[in-house]
């Protein structure tokens, strides 16, 4: 409705400018200009024309604080530009990136044992993840408990005494924090 009104008003402006009003009462002419089925609004401004003239400025009023032109910062005494690393674009098609995600659907597309119908699972292929962390979904407390379970058998306490102590301290602190300072999640309240 507002656009219709706007178009009417613009039509009114154009009509009053370009139509002769001799011999016609101003009231009638105004009414004519407001609603006249013979008149129609025509688009005469296009965003494409504005863009064609040059780049349309964005962020009006914003002052860019980074250097856009001129000499790079340098030590005046040495008169040598400060070192900047040369830009090297990443290779999107190196082996790792090109074959990313391979074998993620091995349990669906891989061969299955004819009797038991067991297949490989993608969690069995997480070679770059620590073995105790493969397929683990949990918060820090759960992850640390699992780590302690895996590590204590191998004599971790003898080989890494500080880390073993830190691990146990962290578990103790998390236990007290989670059980004495925080409430259980809403789904655990009976």
């Amino acid at each position: 409705m507002t656009s219709l009104l706007g178009s009417m008003i613009s039509t009114l402006g154009m009509a009053l400018r370009y139509r002769p009003l001799i011999g016609v009462s101003s009231q009638v002419s105004k009414a004519n200009a407001l609603f006249n089925p013979e008149l129609t609004t025509v688009r005469f401004r296009y965003h494409a024309d504005k863009v064609a003239k040059g780049p349309v400025p964005r962020r009006h009023g914003y002052e860019e604080k980074l250097f856009q032109s001129g000499l790079l910062p340098r030590k005046v005494s040495v008169d040598k530009a400060l070192p900047m690393p040369t830009y090297k674009p990443k290779n999107s098609w190196n082996e790792k990136r090109a074959l990313f995600g391979q074998n993620d659907y091995i349990d669906i597309l891989g061969p299955s044992n004819e009797i038991s119908q067991k297949t490989l699972h993608p969690t069995q292929l997480l070679y770059h993840v620590p073995p105790w962390l493969r397929g683990v979904q949990g918060n820090e407390y759960q992850v640390l408990l699992r780590r302690r379970k895996f590590v204590q058998k191998k004599g971790y306490a003898l080989g890494h005494p500080t880390k073993w102590a830190t691990l146990n301290t962290r578990i103790k602190k998390l236990y007290t924090y989670l059980n004495h300072k925080t409430k259980s999640p809403f789904w655990k309240h009976s």
């Binding site: 669906i108 597309l109 292929l125 962390l133 830190t166």
Partner: protein
């Protein structure tokens, strides 16, 4: 050179599979292999005239039996091309199962699958020290009262510069989660259907090419209007030597066995090229999962240490 090529295609996994699961490879008896006369000379220079392949009258491949015949959807028909020559020669027309290749593409499911692939293997090793882990800070810096300055108990409290971080990242943080079995299954179906619908899926009889020259592949892909990046999928994970050598120098031409196919790779590569054997295997696997009796047990939630 030879070892480098082998390492590219024969993965640790494939060796495990060939050792653990013996699955007799199904080869399709195409008439092309029986009647084709080809000169078996080794040619390294592409500019020399390649021997003209003599074929019987087309179509060579003209029928394919679909497992679990579709009742309410019409099978989709695709041309089968060759890889022997740079110019495309259509060897025949085959049917593709609509349940696999003509499913309405669900963009939200495709997105879920891509997100899962990116996240489930991600582990964040970012770590910050708590106040009791930062070196020092056991002693009270100054007397409680009398100095006129603010009171403190430790120089490593979180309000101090150089102090511990309270709720910072704790290494290692796993972002693992398992997407539902059917969501992943439907992701594969949606992506394959989208690829076919957008003319980015091509079927070839086999991946045998006459030379190991990388420019042969370039010319072939350019001639046929296949996308800049092409993913070649075959049933077997040990690929023919020529195509392996030709694609080795190009990072955007990649070879994959059927079990390695995934939504992310299909979207990363512009064109997907499947061999007939790959189509058979792919359809067999997906239709098996769609029509199995014990789908409930297969689609159960993943439990840690259950695999």
């Amino acid at each position: 050179m030879a070892t480098k090529i082998i390492n590219k295609t024969v993965t640790e996994l494939s060796l495990r599979i060939t050792r653990c699961f013996f699955v007799p490879s199904k080869t399709i008896q195409t008439n092309a292999t029986l009647f084709q006369e080809r000169l078996e000379t080794s040619i390294t220079n592409v500019e020399e005239q390649l021997p003209t392949t003599i074929r019987p009258p087309l179509p060579i491949i003209h029928s394919r039996k679909l497992a679990f015949p579709p009742k309410f959807k019409a099978p989709r028909q695709v041309w089968v091309s060759n890889m022997d020559t740079v110019e495309e020669e259509k060897l025949g027309l085959i049917d593709l199962h609509p349940e696999v290749f003509a499913e309405r593409p669900r963009v939200d499911i495709i997105h879920e699958n891509v997100r899962w692939q990116q996240l489930y293997r991600h582990v964040s090793y970012a770590n910050t020290k708590m106040r009791y882990e930062v070196r020092g800070g056991g002693k009270k810096p100054r007397q409680q009262k009398g100095s006129g300055r603010s009171r403190h108990g430790s120089i490593r409290s979180p309000i101090w510069r150089g102090g511990g971080i309270v709720h910072g990242p704790r290494s290692p943080t796993p972002y693992f989660y398992m997407l539902g079995f059917n969501t992943r299954l439907n992701g594969l179906r949606s992506t394959l259907s989208a690829k076919l619908a957008q003319d980015d899926l091509h079927i070839v009889d086999s991946l045998d090419i006459p030379t190991d020259d990388p420019s042969y592949l370039e010319k072939l892909v350019e001639e046929r209007g296949w996308g800049p990046a092409v993913l070649f999928v075959d049933d077997n994970d040990i690929m023919p030597l020529n195509i392996t050598a030709a694609s080795d120098s190009h990072g955007h031409y990649n070879l994959m066995p059927v079990y390695g196919l995934n939504v992310y790779s299909m979207l990363k590569h512009h064109t997907l090229v499947l061999t007939l054997a790959a189509v058979e295997r792919l359809e067999e696997r997906l239709l098996f999962h769609l029509n199995r009796n014990d789908a409930a047990s297969a689609g159960q939630k993943y439990r840690l240490d259950s695999v």
